[in-house]
């Protein structure tokens, strides 16, 4: 269960968003510039809200009134960025292992095998990120986030930097992830088709505010709203 009730001023832009979600995949939907990335950066702890609270499974991560701000590295919230952000000086195996090392988790060969199989990246382990295609990079970034054993996974337009062919290639992996990994996800996108395919709940964000909240069935109606 994720509860968000925050306000943040970023230059001229004001975000004031409030929602609670229990879905397996909560789609954060809106046009570019609606504040989607700022909002999940606040959930991740990369951005500090001016005012409000963020709580996950009853544990408060941000509470500005109480002066509480759990730093990003102690949140256990995975983040898959649009630009993958793999560590260029580490090979794929070391990238995948990074979160386990930083969180001092026991080595779990079974989990590693399961996730490399799920994402089909077992043959890439010895490569450096510079020698991966965009789709491969994004799959490794997914695996890296999952292997840190997060309690919530944030995906910021993970298909945004890929062409149509690559999107079609990655989408099935995301569906498998939703159905098999058992980690709740916040999925950011401005593509209604992706949303329909993946999301169980939709938060519609418009100019920094939550304009609608509901199931996927609200998508066709709101698609026109966004544009």
């Amino acid at each position: 269960m994720l509860r968000v009730d925050v306000a943040k001023q970023l230059g001229e832009f004001h975000i004031e968003a409030r929602f609670a979600s229990e879905g397996r995949v909560t789609g954060l939907f809106g046009a570019s510039g609606a504040g989607k990335t700022s909002l999940i950066n606040m959930i991740a702890g990369l951005l500090r809200p001016d005012r409000g609270t963020i709580a996950i499974n009853g544990e408060t991560l941000d509470d500005t009134a109480a002066g509480l701000h759990v730093p990003v590295h102690r949140r256990r919230i995975g983040y898959v960025f649009q630009d993958a952000r793999l560590f260029p000086h580490l090979d794929v195996r070391q990238n995948l292992d990074y979160g386990r090392r930083m969180n001092r988790l026991a080595d779990d060969a079974a989990a590693r095998a399961r996730i490399t199989d799920l994402l089909d990246i077992g043959h890439l382990l010895e490569r450096r990120p510079g020698h991966l295609s965009g789709g491969e990079r994004q799959r490794v970034a997914l695996g890296r986030a999952l292997l840190a054993q997060p309690r919530l996974l944030l995906l910021d337009e993970p298909l945004g930097s890929l062409d149509e062919q690559r999107r079609v290639e990655i989408l099935p992996y995301l569906e498998r992830l939703r159905d098999e990994a058992g980690i709740p996800m916040i999925y950011v996108s401005h593509d209604p088709d992706e949303m329909r395919q993946l999301a169980t709940d939709i938060v519609l964000l418009k100019r920094g505010r939550v304009a609608a909240f509901g199931g996927v069935e609200v998508l066709p109606a709101i698609a026109s709203l966004v544009r």
Binding site: V72, H73, I77, F81, P88, H89, M102, P129, G130, H131
Partner: protein
């Protein structure tokens, strides 16, 4: 013809020792300062920046004299260090290392700062979301990616330390076997009748060391670029 005398050898060895110690002691401090300047905003930042670059623009004699006033036996810091920790800089090779470290510091810090600035902060954010504390982000992401720049800075600082003359001779004088480095040995030889050939030999040695350091620095810089592009 190219036979080095024991005095010349002593000067070369002393120069290498002084420059090595100066570089190794200055490097961790230089990395910390470079990180502060590259990644943090704080009150007095431009003052710190100016202070570090001061030895580059001050006459070396002035820097040496300031060191003598501060770290000499009667200097404020020097007297305290001698009384409490037994560390003496004045007229010792350690003083030469201190002078060389101070003089080479701006050259050491600059490439490190540039390479830290070149590290993509989005990678540091990603490391944070994977559970890395700020210190571990620095050790596992920032420093490895900036490492070629760190090495280039150390090479440059080393080369500067080897050649340092003005501040060293002012601070710790020119004592053969204790504080007489290659540069001060050349200086003495030039003023001695028949010292020309010995001076020339040391000149060749210092040119070789300097060229090797510059080539090394260039090599590290090229590696830095390659590394940051993910190959």
């Amino acid at each position: 013809m190219f036979e080095l005398s024991p005095t010349e050898w002593t000067a070369i060895q002393l120069s290498l020792r002084v420059a090595t110690v100066a570089t190794l002691v200055a490097a961790p401090l230089g990395i910390a300062v470079a990180w502060l300047l590259a990644r943090r905003d704080f009150w007095g930042k431009s003052l710190l920046d100016a202070l570090i670059h001061l030895p580059l623009v001050l006459p070396p004699v002035v820097t040496g004299y300031l060191l003598l006033l501060t770290f000499g036996r009667r200097g404020l810091v020097g007297a305290w260090l001698a009384d409490h920790l037994g560390i003496v800089f004045a007229f010792r090779w350690t003083g030469a290392a201190l002078a060389c470290g101070v003089m080479s510091f701006p050259l050491l810090v600059r490439p490190i700062r540039l390479s830290i600035e070149a590290v993509d902060q989005r990678l540091e954010q990603a490391a944070g979301t994977l559970g890395a504390t700020p210190l571990r982000v620095f050790l596992t992401v920032t420093l490895p990616l900036a490492l070629p720049g760190v090495l280039a800075g150390m090479v440059l600082g080393f080369a500067k330390a080897i050649g340092e003359f003005g501040a060293t001779i002012t601070f710790v004088s020119n004592i053969p076997g204790e504080t007489q480095t290659i540069s001060s040995a050349i200086y003495s030889l030039i003023q001695t009748p028949d010292g020309d050939s010995a001076a020339l030999r040391l000149v060749v040695v210092s040119v070789v060391i300097a060229v090797a350091a510059l080539i090394g620095s260039e090599w590290f810089a090229r590696r830095a670029t390659k590394r940051l592009h993910g190959n």
